[in-house]
């Protein structure tokens, strides 16, 4: 079939404050308009239905990442930092760094961290619940990953407060050069210098993810000049994502007490609960690709060199794929959700994120019978992340 559909257009700004505050309406409009929608404001092609988002994600041959997974096209524009060897690379360059990181962050490699992370979560939760009320964003969603992840990578204690602002900027930088980018820009050289210093061999404790990346360079699995950039990928992609992923699952349970009850009755649902929260909130909302040649998606031809904006968040709530998509429901099988991407670039840190979530939720489930919001939750705007500023709550303890 080579029938060509008229290309619907939309002039909404997906990176404007309204859409970032609540993207649901934009997502529904884009999904209903057609398989592909032209976004006039940026001259890019949007896909928002599950089927087409998933197809674009796995098709690295036609939809490349090396020209940037943000709005900026690296064929014509200079990126703000040296491109990532994973996220912003295509095969064959992508192969070796990916293989190394998949091994270091794979489920079997993480077994050694499990017990320790569960203990840290338990201790943190005990401390937080001693207060009658707390803000779950800083107290749990930020505090837990910041306790375990930098240690697991093996960076020093000094300067860890730079991690969140650096990640926040990196995820903003995938969008247009709007206020969110400009406001943070003056701090970027300082943040980048700090992050780059943490990636050096000398800066990394023995036996952490970072040291293992350097060991891979010593074995020749990657080159020595690739090692610091692979470490940088962890420091960029591994912190803010899990913070907002954990915030998403805490928000989900605070607003769905029946589901929390269900989780407590059936702890085996813990892993699925986190993936369901990742589906429901999609902490990473969007990524771009660039068409390598004229490529058809659902009856529309994307011209070679054109940018495609994939709405992971919209795909994860596409009623064509999910029943009652707007409900957070532990009885659903969230398998196949695209919040971690799919295919060649699928999140290499997903097992790390899931282990963090399992540790934190398990510690909470041991003690908390019910969460209640004590004030209005507040979003944090970011061009890529569905993020949180504040989740004031109280926890009833068993």
């Amino acid at each position: 079939m080579t029938e060509t559909l008229a290309l619907p257009t939309d002039d909404t700004d997906p990176f404007g404050p309204e859409a970032l505050e609540d993207p649901a309406e934009l997502h529904a409009t884009l999904r209903e308009a057609g398989p592909v929608v032209y976004l006039t404001r940026y001259g890019v092609y949007a896909v928002a239905r599950y089927k087409h988002v998933r197809a674009a994600l796995v098709d690295w041959q036609d939809f490349q990442s090396a020209a940037g997974v943000g709005l900026s096209n690296f064929r014509y524009e200079r990126p703000w930092r040296a491109p990532s060897l994973l996220l912003e690379a295509d095969p064959p360059h992508h192969d070796a760094p990916r293989r190394v990181l998949s091994g270091i962050l794979g489920p079997r490699a993480l077994r050694r961290l499990r017990e320790q992370w569960f203990a840290v979560a338990d201790e943190l939760v005990g401390r937080v619940l001693a207060e009658p009320e707390f803000d779950a964003v800083p107290a749990l969603a930020e505090a837990f990953p910041l306790r375990v992840f930098p240690d697991a990578v093996g960076i020093g204690r000094e300067g860890r407060e730079n991690l969140l602002p650096y990640g926040d900027f990196a995820f903003n930088a995938f969008g247009p050069g709007n206020d969110l980018v400009n406001r943070a820009a003056p701090d970027v050289p300082r943040l980048s210098r700090w992050v780059d210093r943490q990636c050096a061999r000398e800066a990394l404790a023995a036996d952490g993810f970072g040291a293992r990346i350097w060991a891979a360079a010593d074995r020749g699995d990657i080159t020595p000049d690739q090692a610091p950039l692979v470490v940088r990928s962890l420091l960029t992609a591994g912190v803010d994502t899990t913070v907002h992923g954990l915030a998403a699952v805490l928000y989900a349970f605070a607003t769905n007490p029946g589901q929390w009850q269900r989780l407590r009755e059936r702890p085996a649902l813990t892993r699925a609960a986190f993936d369901e929260a990742v589906r429901w909130q999609s902490p990473v909302q969007t990524f771009f690709r660039t068409a390598t040649t004229d490529t058809r998606i659902g009856g529309t031809t994307i011209p070679g060199g054109g940018k495609i904006l994939m709405f992971l968040g919209a795909a994860n709530r596409d009623p064509r794929r999910w029943d009652r998509p707007d409900e957070f429901d532990l009885d659903r099988d969230p398998s196949g959700q695209v919040g971690f991407g799919m295919g060649l670039h699928q999140c290499v840190g997903q097992h790390v994120a899931r282990l963090e979530a399992e540790a934190l939720l398990t510690a909470l489930a041991h003690r908390v019978t019910r969460f209640e919001l004590t004030g209005p939750p507040r979003r944090h705007h970011n061009n890529t992340l569905r993020a949180w500023e504040s989740l004031p709550m109280r926890a009833r303890v068993a």
Binding site: R108, R219, A268, S335, Q337, Q346, Q350
Partner: protein, 315 residues
């Protein structure tokens, strides 16, 4: 043949050299096949139940087909004879993987050494090295010119390819090629055990890690994959389900109420990893190394199955 996800059709069978056929495998519905990298192999479950491993030698930019080269092995156990004499276009085969124990690492230069059918994993590596603008050479030995597969494909690379048929130029002069270590050069060798031994011997003066090898033999193979249904016991929740050939273990245990999370359903992402308490899984994933497979302590139920009548899972 099982109607699970990894059943492919023989789309073409071509004799490409004396005693060598190339098979083209495709999804019966034309679906995209799982990704792979140069050096990867697949497990092929033949209609007679034998399982054999073959290196992928096609083009990873072509998402619809896998290509493998199969040498007739007169002293093999019958798998290659079956492929040569019985298997026909249109037949279905089971496929596990792809898996890669022989990955290409980044380097400014490569020396590829192939013995006979050992050329197959090196072909995509050569393509890739060329694409990256690396300095590379191929030393390719075989019995007779006519028995050396993929000569036409290699002809396009000109002077970088050094064909050495034994009846014209004798055994490969490995010491001459490996005499002095060259910094920045990695050596990839695939062929029969005597060739690997010669390469290893000549390699002593080179830095560690500069050599990567894969042995090509018709050697020991696993027990045949089973077609009969098997039972899966869910130890923690206490049920047992029977898994027939047209359903995955993942679907079966989920239907029995186990909360197994999955994502890729291709044995690549690792999400569905499940602890095995008893029984021998028939591993079809792209994740575990041979060593990890042999431990039989975990499996990926989205693609892997059972060799034994009963599997006991920690679910």
């Amino acid at each position: 043949m099982s109607a699970n996800v990894a059943t492919l059709t023989v789309a073409a069978k071509d004799e490409i050299a004396e005693g060598v056929v190339a098979l083209t495998l495709a999804d019966p519905g034309g679906a995209r096949l799982p990704d792979w990298t140069p050096g990867a192999h697949i497990d092929v479950v033949l209609p007679n139940g034998m399982t054999r491993q073959f290196s992928l030698c096609g083009d990873r930019w072509d998402t619809r087909v896998y290509r493998i080269g199969v040498l007739r092995e007169p002293h093999g156990r019958g798998g290659s004879a079956y492929v040569h004499d019985v298997l026909r276009p249109g037949d279905l085969v089971g496929v596990g993987g792809p898996r890669n124990n022989f990955p290409l690492v980044p380097s400014a230069g490569y020396l590829f050494i192939a013995g006979g059918i050992g050329i197959t994993p090196l072909l995509p590596m050569i393509h890739q090295a060329d694409l990256l603008g690396a300095e590379w050479n191929l030393l390719y030995g075989g019995r007779r010119r006519a028995s050396m597969a993929f000569r036409e494909r290699l002809a396009g690379y000109g002077g970088r390819v050094h064909l050495r048929p034994e009846d014209e130029s004798g055994l490969l002069d490995v010491p001459a090629w490996l005499g002095t270590p060259r910094p920045g050069v990695r050596v990839y060798c695939c062929g029969p055990p005597p060739l690997l031994a010669a390469v290893q011997a000549a390699f002593r003066s080179w830095p560690a890690h500069a050599l990567r090898t894969e042995r090509f033999t018709a050697g020991a193979q696993d027990a045949p994959a089973r077609e009969e249904p098997f039972d899966v016991e869910l130890r923690r929740s206490g049920g047992t389900v029977t898994v027939g050939p047209d359903r995955s273990v993942l679907d079966a245990v989920r239907r029995a109420g186990a909360d197994v999370l999955s994502s890729c359903r291709q044995g690549t992402c690792g999400t569905c990893e499940t602890t095995v308490l008893d029984g021998d899984p028939d591993h079809r994933d792209s994740i575990l190394t041979d060593h990890e497979r042999a431990a039989n302590d975990c499996m990926f139920p989205c693609v892997s199955r059972s060799r034994t009548d009963r599997l006991v899972l920690d679910l």
